[in-house]
Amino acid sequence: MPEKTKTDNLEKSTKRRRHKREQSVRATISNVIMCGPITVWSVLFILVPVGFLVFMSFMTKGPLGRIVYKFTLDNYKEMTKPVYFSVVSESLVIAFWTTLITVLMGYPMGVAMAKMKKKTSGLVTIALMLPLWVSGLVILYSFVIMLNTSGTINSFLLRIGLLSKPLQLLYNRFAVIIGMVYMFLPFAVLPMYSSIEKLDPALIEASKDLGAKPVTTFFRVQLPLTSPGIFAAVILTFIPCIGYYMVSDMLGGGQSMLVGNLIFRQFTISRNWPFGAALSVVLAVIILVMVKIYTKLGGSLDDLAA
């Protein structure tokens, strides 16, 4: 009798195991089907090119912009030259000011949107996103038209007699920052708006109730509790700002060379692909380090996606 139960149990457990295996196989198959296309896509068009980029950054530049497949560290050594330092520092300065201005302008806007009715704030969000649906090129050209020495702003100021000769508004750091702020403001407002909107109004009331004046309440309660949104805004502005070459190309007029422009130039005019690849790799590493700092400080990657 006990013998029989034993074999019975054995049979049952093997059955159960088989059933489990079948289930897991079926789950795997369906997962592969669902994730397959995007995996193939990612491997083909992201992983392989990035791998090739890293590989290329260790290759040698040949004559006429060819790549000679010979290992070298020269591309990275090249970057330590002072001329490139100034490019990096200029990029950081512009990214810093752009981020500062964007966050200072975007936060009050987020506060205002959080106070609106759901319907109104939805319309404002669409209005905010509207410029993103227009080609960046068109936007930047309109900035050129506005800021030119014979442009809209200058001719207006000349006509009303505020100026005797036109101001140099275009082709300097100022113009680049204006353009950058315009491009990144929507990305900065939305995460800040979402964290301000999530803030429980009872917390603000509690602070006032306990005797804190509005300014104290802002710095002790509202600001700390909406900081994830501000972090996200900083990341979403600062990082793309370093690599975004179109603005400084068109509004900076070659006066302000940014890392993005430098890379662009290596792949086009200079035809030095290995050096461009090395610059790209370094830029990517800087960005990864910053994202790491962001998550270390308590930021979440989901906020960035919002």
């Binding site: 009331e205 005797g211 509790l225």
Partner: protein, 383 residues
């Protein structure tokens, strides 16, 4: 009598076309536990928020110790609030939350630390100083919220349904603890709840609100035994309510005609005003005062049939039906000598136990018809 600590005089509150608080007159005495009780949407939280300063009255006066404060900001008022969902700052630990009120007033660090310690002791949370808020249970959060509000040593503590999120057992325990705390500190508590049992348990006085109006203010006993309006009688505790009219008044006695029949009542049991013959009234008899006799009682009685008996632990709740179809609720602690379901019995009550409430509005037509019908069909059999 001493000066009331908080006074609301002719306070009105409108939200657009919505009249949420109507002519509110309320005097809160120093050191009392006053509860604003009413169903949701009756204006009790708005009333509380006008005391704390989060809402400004549309008209009327709010006074603290004879000083007009209705235009003052919340941070300028000497009151503190325990919020419905605690509203603890998630970016601070327990000690920082409790000490917040002192910190924003720039109290020296050592003093804050000392007073936070005192508060932690008071609410029995010693050793929890460094805890994050999200690591605390509901009951613990509740204690932190109370400690945070009390550290400023307010003259008045406002509590907006503070126990709403707790489970039944914890809620009962906190009710007693809150009451004890209030007695110990001698601070005036103004408490908002929709739970009548909670109000009866804790309050020195209860203000019952309905549709923006304070229907009655009184001790729990007054409110339960002598409800001044039909709403109060129905909202506090269980009751059998019968609309009717005064048929006769003679000396200390009255005869009331209602939809269930005609019966005598006492003039001293009349609440909330005076009545004349033919005035509409509502009679309120609590289920525990109803008598269900198997033998014929003295005085008046009605015939009724037992329909259901429900055992709920400490009570037996019964529903009986009278000959004219009216349902009667009867509660008993013991089950002795009670009719079984289906059995006919004699329904009666002591005239002492029937409260007569004058109606504000004239009686509805169909009710008037059924009163006539009842009077014609079943004359009370007097001995």
């Amino acid at each position: 009598m001493a000066l009331p600590i908080v006074q609301m005089v002719n306070v009105e509150k409108w939200y657009g076309n919505n009249h949420v608080v109507k002519n509110c007159n309320l005097s809160i005495e120093a050191g009392e536990f006053l509860t604003l009780l009413g169903p949701s949407g009756c204006g009790k939280t708005t009333t509380l928020r006008m005391i704390s300063g989060f809402e400004l009255p549309s008209s009327g006066v709010v006074k603290f110790m004879n000083e007009n404060v209705e235009k003052k900001e919340p941070y300028e008022r000497d009151v503190n609030t325990v919020f419905q969902n605690y509203a603890l700052f998630p970016n601070m630990n327990v000690a920082q939350n409790i000490g917040y009120g002192l910190k924003v007033k720039k109290v020296p660090k050592e003093e804050i630390a000392r007073r936070v310690d005192d508060m932690l002791k008071l609410v029995q949370l010693e050793g929890f100083e460094k805890r994050r808020i999200n690591q605390m249970s509901g009951g613990q959060k509740q204690r932190v919220a109370i400690a945070r509000a009390l550290i400023n040593q307010p003259k008045v503590l406002l509590l907006d349904e503070p126990l709403g999120a707790l489970d039944m057992k914890l809620r009962k325990q906190m009710q007693i603890e809150l009451k004890r705390l209030q007695r110990k500190l001698g601070i005036t508590f103004v408490y908002v709840t929709h739970d009548q049992e909670e109000a009866l348990t804790m309050s020195d006085r209860i203000a019952v609100m309905s549709e923006g109006v304070i229907d009655q203010i009184g001790t729990p006993k007054e409110i339960y035994l002598h409800p001044k309006t039909r709403f109060v009688a129905g909202f506090i505790g269980e009751s059998n309510l019968y609309d009717g009219i005064v048929r006769e008044i003679e000396g200390d006695e009255m005869v009331i005609g209602t939809e269930v029949g005609v019966f005598p009542a006492l003039k001293k049991q009349l609440t909330g005003g005076t009545v004349k013959v033919n005035d509409p009234v509502t009679v309120c008899i609590r289920p525990e005062k109803m008598k269900a006799g198997i033998t014929e009682p003295e005085g008046f009685y009605f015939h009724a049939v037992m329909k259901e008996k429900i055992f709920v632990g400490n009570l037996t709740k019964m529903i009986a039906v009278m000959n004219n179809g009216n349902e009667i609720r009867i509660n008993r602690i013991d089950e002795k000598d009670l009719p079984e379901p289906g059995q006919e019995f004699f329904l009666s009550w002591d005239t002492e136990d029937a409260v007569v409430i004058p109606s504000r509005s004239p009686i509805a037509l169909d009710t008037a018809d059924s009163i006539e019908a009842a009077a014609a069909a079943e004359q009370p059999e007097e001995t």
